[in-house]
Structure formats: structure tokens, C-alpha cells
């Protein structure tokens, strides 16, 4: 392992940990602006997490050890996932252990533990959230895999850094098939991160909530970890999107430490624009009924399949 590889790996993990709440804060700020509200500070998620860490944890009487362990596992899975996704550089030594398909599995592991913890207490709310989350999950996962397959076929590898490097170093990296899959990926990102057409992150209305219903029984440091994991998930998804569709500007195989430093403002710029676009999409769209979610995700799947067909049949 070369020093630059360790540096890239460490930097990416630290950046994900540090910047994820900021990205969430930025999306929330943009949303507030677009909705003519006075925007909260971008640092609000940090303050929320800090406040929660200092509080006394209250746990339901019938909670099992699984309930207490789940926030750590979900947080850990999201952090490990951040170590596989090339957000700044492609020389990540850890990707020998997990390719893009394992990454989808890692995200599913987090989902399963979150749902199990939600069902652990035995309240109707928790199970309701868990079952809805699993519904969204089992529809979104095939679509996400299909998106990854298109990019893998184009670059003949399933390792995410290799895909990003391949697409970034091509002279003309424009594929019509990737345009279809990019739209599909945006839909999956919205669904998986409990954003507006599928779930409203600001709601506490029982009929509409998915993610909030699952973390309802959590408090203090457990809730803090869950919130942090949620922001990490959004950050991870954004970075998967960059790796597949906007890989330009990341430090590739030939670049030195300077290119790594140069990739930091590029990532910041990408996140800034993506956050604003995300807030815009959320503002102009209405929350779908829960049973319209399958249609939404079926569209994502069809678009990804269309991208695959465009690539396989037309070679584009």
C-alpha cells in the first residue's frame, strides 16, 4: 500500500464524516429559501447531533440489545460504504474488499438492521415504518443494481473507483445510455434517502412517514448516530452519482497528492450544485401516496433498463 493510497482512503472517510451533515444542512437551507421560509443555518445538523449526544438516552422497557446495537451498525455500514465510493480519488486500497455490488449489499445491511430495530419495540409505528422501508428498498435495489450494471458494462469492471477512473479519463465521456441511467439514479436517490416524492423528511404525520416512523423510539446518542447515518447515506448516494455520471475532477491513477488537494474544491462545487438541484426537485414535486411509490421506482428501473438496452443494442 502506497502512502498516497492511505492518504486518499483516510481523507475520503474524514470528508464523508465531516461534510455529510453540512451537505444535509445545505439541502435544507436551499429548500427553505425556495419555499420562502427563513432558512436555518447550514450548521444546524451539527448542532442537532451535538445536542443529542449530550442528552440522556431513554429506551423502551422491552427493547432488546439489537435495538441498542442497531444505530452503531447502521452508522458503521454507512461509514464503510463511504470508504468504497471514490469521492475525491480513485486509489482506494479498501475497494479490493468490496465492489459496487457489495456496496449495494452494504447499504441493504444497514436497511435491514434499521428495520429490525424499528420492529424490536413492537409498536405499530415502528413496524409500519419498517415494512414501508422494506417495500421501497426491494423496489429500489434492483433499479440501483441496473444503474451500476450499465456503468460496469461500459467500463468492463464492477469496482466503483475503476469505473470512475475509466469514465473520467476518457477523452469523450458522453454516453446517451448514461443519461438514461442518470435520471434513474436521481429517482433512486430521492426514494432511498426518504426525500420528497416518496417520503417527507420533515413530516411527523403517521400516514405518510417512512423513515421517521422507524427512528421514532430512538433518543439521545442513538438518535444522533441514526441522524448522522442518514446524512452519510445522502452524501454517499450523491458521491455514487458523481462517480458514475460526473467523474471529472477526481484524482486518478497518475495524479499526485496535489491532484487530491485539487479535487476537494471540485467535490465541494459538485455537492453545492447537487444540493441545490435536490432541493429544487423536492420543492416542485408533491409527496406521492405510499402505493404510488412502486410506480415511481418502476419508472427508475425501466429507465435503467432502457439505458442498458441503448448501450447493448446501439453501443452508445
Amino acid at each position: 500500500m502506497k502512502p498516497i493510497e492511505i492518504l486518499t482512503q483516510g481523507l475520503e472517510l474524514l470528508a464523508a464524516l465531516a461534510a455529510a451533515p453540512l451537505f444535509l444542512g445545505w439541502v435544507n437551507q436551499c429548500r427553505a429559501w425556495l419555499q420562502n421560509r427563513r432558512a436555518p443555518s447550514v450548521w444546524l445538523p451539527y448542532r442537532g447531533i451535538r445536542k443529542l449526544f449530550h442528552k440522556d438516552a431513554v429506551i423502551a422497557e422491552n427493547a432488546s440489545p439489537l435495538f441498542r446495537a442497531a444505530p452503531y451498525i447502521v452508522f458503521g455500514a454507512m461509514l464503510v460504504a463511504a470508504g468504497i465510493i471514490p469521492s475525491m480519488g480513485t486509489r482506494l486500497p479498501f475497494t479490493i474488499a468490496a465492489d459496487a455490488i457489495a456496496l449495494v449489499g452494504l447499504l441493504a445491511t444497514a436497511r435491514v438492521f434499521q428495520s429490525l430495530a424499528a420492529m424490536d419495540i413492537g409498536t405499530a409505528f415502528g413496524t409500519l415504518g419498517a415494512r414501508r422501508e422494506m417495500m421501497v428498498g426491494f423496489l429500489a435495489e434492483p433499479a440501483l443494481l441496473m444503474v451500476i450494471f450499465v456503468a460496469s458494462i461500459i467500463s468492463a469492471t464492477t469496482a466503483l473507483p475503476a469505473i470512475a477512473e475509466n469514465l473520467a479519463t476518457q477523452t469523450l465521456g458522453l454516453y446517451p445510455s448514461l443519461a438514461f441511467t442518470a435520471i434513474a439514479f436521481t429517482l433512486i436517490l430521492l426514494a432511498e434517502n426518504a426525500r420528497i416524492p416518496i417520503d417527507n423528511p420533515a413530516t411527523h404525520l403517521e400516514l405518510t412517514m417512512i423513515h421517521e416512523a422507524m427512528v421514532l423510539e430512538y433518543s439521545a446518542r442513538h438518535l444522533a448516530l441514526m441522524e448522522w447515518a442518514t446524512s452519510l447515506k445522502l452524501f454517499n448516494y450523491a458521491c455514487i452519482g458523481f462517480a458514475l455520471f460526473l467523474p471529472w475532477g477526481i484524482s486518478t491513477g497518475t495524479g499526485g497528492p496535489l491532484s487530491l488537494v485539487a479535487s476537494i474544491p471540485v467535490l465541494a462545487a459538485k455537492l453545492t450544485v447537487t444540493g441545490a438541484v435536490l432541493a429544487f426537485i423536492e420543492t416542485i414535486s408533491a409527496k406521492l401516496r405510499v402505493f404510488r411509490a412502486p410506480e415511481f421506482l418502476a419508472i427508475a428501473f425501466m429507465l435503467a433498463v432502457l439505458g442498458l438496452l441503448v448501450h447493448l443494442l446501439l453501443g452508445a
Binding site: F53, H54, D56, A57, V58, I59, A60, E61, N62, A63, R68, Y72, I73, F75, G76, A77, L79, V80, G83, F94, I96, A97, A98, D99, I101, A102, L106, M119, I121, G122, T123, A124, F125, T127, L128, A130, R131, R132, M134, M135, F138, L139, A156, T157, T158, A159, P161, A162, E206, L216, E217, R221, L225, V290, F291, P294
Partner: protein, 202 residues
């Protein structure tokens, strides 16, 4: 309902070993893929390439930068989780207070509010509703003894297998008519067959 109780040890073992099998398969996929190599070769005539990777690493195609190592991933995940636990315990207190679960503002929770496995599968049944024939009896909110009943049957079973089964049974019935069940009838059949064969030979 009064006699309902948790699943026993044997029932749990029955599910646990399946789950354990899944975990082992995920952790050591290289062995299973090695064992499947001959099967794949026999069916498709093409053998999976041997990549010469160590036991802990799964490399689907040699020379491509894609690999999967479940043990390394597990170690990484476990160490990150343990590190998180240690750091949280180190920097923040670890007091825990136990309290009743939030009841949704309804006062006392009872068995009617409990969710079941049936409820968990409800979205899937709803999404694939077109494929299933679902008959439901829903209770009203004012029933003193609410009764919820769902019968899910497979439409394909009705459309495809039932007509096919009827056809097979009818054909069998027709043939059964031939089998009268008397030795003299069978002897007549044999005799007729032999005569017909003789006629054909000549």
C-alpha cells in the same frame, strides 16, 4: 388467541440454521463457487475461469479490477462499529433510562394495536395485487370483536394449473374406461394386439 406463545427453541433452530447458512455463504463464497464450477461446466460447456485468488478473496474475472472479500469487509465493518462504540462511550456518558414505549397517544397498548407478519407482507401483496386473488374481510372501527380475514390465492393456479389438471384427469378417465379390470378383457387386448402385429408383419 389466549394460548398464543412465542416460538419454541426447535422452531427457532429451524429458521436460525437457514440464516446461518446465508451468512456463511456470504462470508465464504469462493468455496461454493469452486464447488459449482463442475456443474456450470457440465451444463453450459464453458468453465468459470480460475483466477488463482486466495480463499478470502473472490475475483470473478482475472485481470479486471473487481474483487470481493467478505472477511475483510466484515472485519472492517466490525472494527468501525466497535470504534464508534468506544468513541461514543469515551466522549459521552452512557447512561440509559428505561421508559414505556410511546403508545401513540392512545393510553394503553393492547393486542389490537400489534402488528403481525401478515401486516409486514401487506405492501408486497398490494403491489403484486394483480397477480394474486385476494379476498378480504375487513372489520369496521366499531366492531366489538373485530375479525380480519384474508385469503390469498394464486391467480396463475386458477388460470393455468387448474384447467391443465382437469384436462389430465379427463384423459386419465378416458383411459380408465379401457381398463375394465378383468383378466379376460386384458387377455383379449393382448390377443388383438398380437393379431394386429402379425397382420402388419405379413
Amino acid at each position: 388467541m389466549e394460548r398464543a406463545h412465542d416460538a419454541g427453541v426447535l422452531e427457532r433452530i429451524g429458521l436460525a440454521w437457514l440464516a446461518l447458512g446465508c451468512v456463511l455463504l456470504g462470508l465464504l463464497p469462493a468455496y461454493v463457487i469452486d464447488a459449482l464450477r463442475t456443474v456450470v461446466a457440465q451444463f453450459s460447456g464453458v468453465s468459470l475461469p480460475r483466477t488463482g485468488a486466495p480463499w478470502w478473496l473472490l475475483v470473478p474475472l482475472a485481470g479486471r479490477q473487481a474483487s470481493y472479500s467478505a472477511p475483510v469487509l466484515l472485519i472492517a465493518l466490525t472494527s468501525v462499529v466497535l470504534l464508534t462504540v468506544l468513541l461514543v462511550r469515551r466522549f459521552y456518558h452512557h447512561r440509559v433510562r428505561r421508559a414505556a414505549a410511546w403508545d401513540g397517544g392512545f393510553g394503553r397498548m393492547n393486542a389490537r394495536m400489534q402488528d403481525t407478519a401478515e401486516g409486514f407482507g401487506q405492501p408486497i401483496r398490494h403491489i403484486f395485487g394483480a397477480l394474486f386473488a385476494v379476498r378480504r374481510e375487513l372489520p369496521s372501527a366499531f366492531d366489538s370483536a373485530p375479525r380480519y380475514r384474508v385469503v390469498v390465492s394464486d391467480r396463475i393456479w386458477q388460470w393455468l394449473y387448474v384447467p391443465l389438471g382437469t384436462l389430465v384427469l379427463r384423459t386419465a378417465d378416458t383411459f380408465a374406461w379401457v381398463q375394465q379390470g378383468r383378466i379376460s378383457t386384458y387377455l383379449t387386448y393382448s390377443f388383438t394386439t398380437l393379431v394386429v402385429l402379425l397382420a402388419l408383419m405379413l
